[in-house]
Symmetry: C2
């Protein structure tokens, strides 16, 4: 049987997520991001298309590396203004039944005690359809606004994140036993204190002595997404992530990355298939190849080099403002920076090429343009070549890119037997892995369940 | 013309908010607090009843003063487990058109840079129906879990809150000019950097140099609720609050509190009527007085002294666990503690009396029991006697207490010409005050608008 393909939609609570300038298209509704109906309509399209989920990126900060200031990002509306993504979820859950929600939240901006309650709340309200995209944040402009001079160093951020997750696991998995809420009408007992345990966490970065504030939710720990591209980030993903979002420019880089992540999962005592890999991918589809290419040309014509480079400069730390558009690029690849940088040392790329690549519209990589059959061919090739589980589908036009995919590509993939024809029942985790609602015993969170039996004689405090 | 009466519903994302034991009633659905449909059904009832808003309390922490531990609170399910209230809003906004949402968030647990974005996001998604109940938090059990040894001192918490609001005002009112988002198709400009200003805040407690992340929302600053009962809290309210939630046990105490708050508003250069006072109030209503009294007796029979005292001990800091139920109470009133304490020095109260009073079910104070006509009489007397603008309506049974009020009391108040018969159009602030969407010029937030013209020549950074 051919490989089944999972699909998340990749969006952000902002006018322009990744493809600059397309907000000028008459069909774009991206400026309606602040309108609740924009989101409730979008997710109903996604559920009609049997998507696994909506994956929402976020940044807390602005892109101010390019030209030494935020002007280019503001002019382009790229990832600024940007609203909070978690607050969209309950409305989207109300109008859907199966769609999952993978939402970005940073270990830098919120305390684990409050973040854990937020995700437990959403796991309850969605009946187990919430995922958390764990990020450590990369924009110094954001860190400065919460009183830090700059972000912590890259590896130190991950050390904090390791302890952050430990605290969250203890709260989610170890504090309330499954049967702690008894609602015993005769004994007049709502919850049994003997089954609710303080986590007593005393670490290097966090001290959380008390109990979790939320009762056990369907999944307890939300489905854990992660997108770290660096070596330290991939180690983190191999240990913790259940789903990895991967943005890679070529099959070769993608295949190496996926193999590395699966190997790291195995090294951490997990199964290579315990990590679902969603590869960032862009599609321009129409009834015919010719029509799709016309759309592609139109979308490329919208691209604003300055706005795209504002994003890319923020991702990589290279200020691209001084480069001429037709200048060949010779940059040194770095493990810590965006994967497109790996390409730049190898070829005769100009700034224009980089803009098209960074926007996801450059043929040859994680991009398909054409008829439904052509696009389906490319997607199957890509997913198999890099050993991904599915796509994190980027938008060029919202909601148009997703509506096109649902109407044209999904039926083609279904005809080929590589895409679901109905949803399975149950939580997001159950749907993704075909087993239980809770994390498997091989996951590092599971060890904190043991606390429940060990501490059960200790009174709650 | 008789005084018009405003009504908020007063709820919490928890099985038991204020009245212990009634979760055992067959009609109670309070344990469904974690179910989205519970909330979307509730707010549709409230909007049918033309309520001004839903006011949602919150605590981050557990009540562990009583008996030196959280066991009593857990057994009673009183304000624990407790889920995040902000995450309910978008779903509730989706199913309503006019209802306001006043949501509690603490200046202790989130940074103003992230909190400001959360409320801007909700002001957009609700089209200007969001309010923020500003609290400084009182539970040491919560503070310990974010790494503090205990809460800051009471007055110091308000000093932090003053600066916290200053930061938030700068972000909401001073960062983006109204016409900063231009969406200029010809010039390819989404937002004009010259109209977006860094706030450059350097204070004692916070340093926030950058711009707000959200574009201007309908109300900019959410409608500001406050509930401080202490002198310092009332000074804070007089300066900042547009709506005050007041919990007072007698007309005399209520009238003095309201007069004090209005005087403090005037002293701060505002109008006495720029602060809407919502008085905490409990209603048990039925078709006849006799039937209502039977319901009242039933509800009183559910009360769990231990659970109610767990709340009261948390509010006041007095551990009531060692008191006998029939023991006379002689406590020293304190400015900083819950207003019921003011009663205890004056009369021959027993613990049982205190339980009934703290639960809101003791006749004589902010409580009415009877037929719709009887209840309407009491409400009108109470509101006029203390010079309140309306009620913060507590629930005994959810959603039953609100459904009863909507079905029985609202029509009676409407017949008397003291309750609206339709909603006005517009934002929550416009509905409450009958003027604009934004704060009036006399509010302290307004001075941060001046920054816009002063800074407009400075490039955004």
């Amino acid at each position: 049987m051919s490989r089944q393909i999972l699909v998340n939609a990749f969006a952000m609570n902002t006018p322009t997520h990744l493809v600059s300038g397309t907000w000028r298209d008459p069909d774009s509704q991206s400026w309606r991001y602040k309108d609740l109906a924009f989101w409730t309509d979008l997710v109903q399209h996604l559920e009609r298309g049997l998507f696994d989920g909506l994956f929402i990126a976020d940044v807390l900060g602005i892109y101010d590396v390019y030209g030494g200031g935020p002007e280019a990002a503001l002019r382009g509306g790229v990832q600024v203004p940007v609203n909070d993504p978690l607050l969209l979820v309950s409305a989207m859950a109300h109008v859907t039944e199966h769609l999952g929600f993978g939402v970005t939240a940073s270990t830098t901006f919120d305390h684990p005690y409050t973040l854990a309650r937020r995700f437990s709340t959403l796991d309850h309200l969605t009946r187990g359809r919430i995922g958390w995209n764990v990020v450590t944040s990369y924009l110094n402009s954001g860190a400065r606004n919460i009183g830090l001079d700059r972000q912590l160093g890259h590896d130190e951020r991950y050390d904090v994140a390791d302890e952050y997750l430990e605290v969250a696991y203890k709260l989610w998995e170890g504090s309330w036993e499954d049967d702690a809420v008894v609602r015993d009408l005769d004994r007049h007992v709502f919850a049994d204190p003997a089954k609710i345990h303080p986590i007593g966490h005393e670490g290097k970065h966090f001290r959380v002595p008390g109990i979790h504030l939320a009762e056990p939710s369907p999944q307890r720990t939300p489905v854990l997404y992660q997108a770290g591209a660096s070596g330290r980030g991939r180690a983190f993903a191999g240990q913790h992530a259940e789903a990895v979002f991967l943005a890679v420019p070529t099959e070769a880089i993608g295949a190496a990355r996926v193999a590395d992540i699966r190997a790291r999962a195995v090294a951490a005592g997990r199964d290579a298939r315990d990590v679902k890999v969603f590869s960032s991918y862009t599609v321009v589809v129409a009834e015919t190849d010719a029509e799709a290419h016309r759309k592609h040309d139109l979308y490329r014509s919208y691209l604003e080099p300055e706005a795209t480079l504002a994003l890319w400069s923020g991702w990589t730390g290279f200020d691209m403002a001084s480069y001429d558009p037709d200048e060949p690029l010779r940059l040194v690849p770095s493990d810590a920076v965006h994967s497109t940088a790996e390409l730049l040392g190898n070829g005769d790329w100009t700034v224009r090429d980089l803009v098209e690549q960074a926007a996801g519209l450059r043929p040859g990589g994680a991009f398909a343009v054409g008829s439904p059959a052509t696009v389906a061919d490319r997607i199957q090739e890509w997913v198999e070549a890099i050993d991904a589980d599915g796509l994190n589908l980027c938008n060029v036009i919202t909601p148009g890119s997703y509506v096109d995919f649902v109407d044209l590509v999904v039926p083609e993939l279904q005809r080929r037997g590589v895409y679901r024809t109905s949803y399975d029942e149950g939580t997001l985790r159950r749907k993704l892995f075909g087993r239980g609602d809770r994390l498997p015993d091989t996951h590092p969170a599971a060890r904190h369940r043991a606390d429940v039996s060990r501490q059960s004689a200790v009174p709650a405090r």
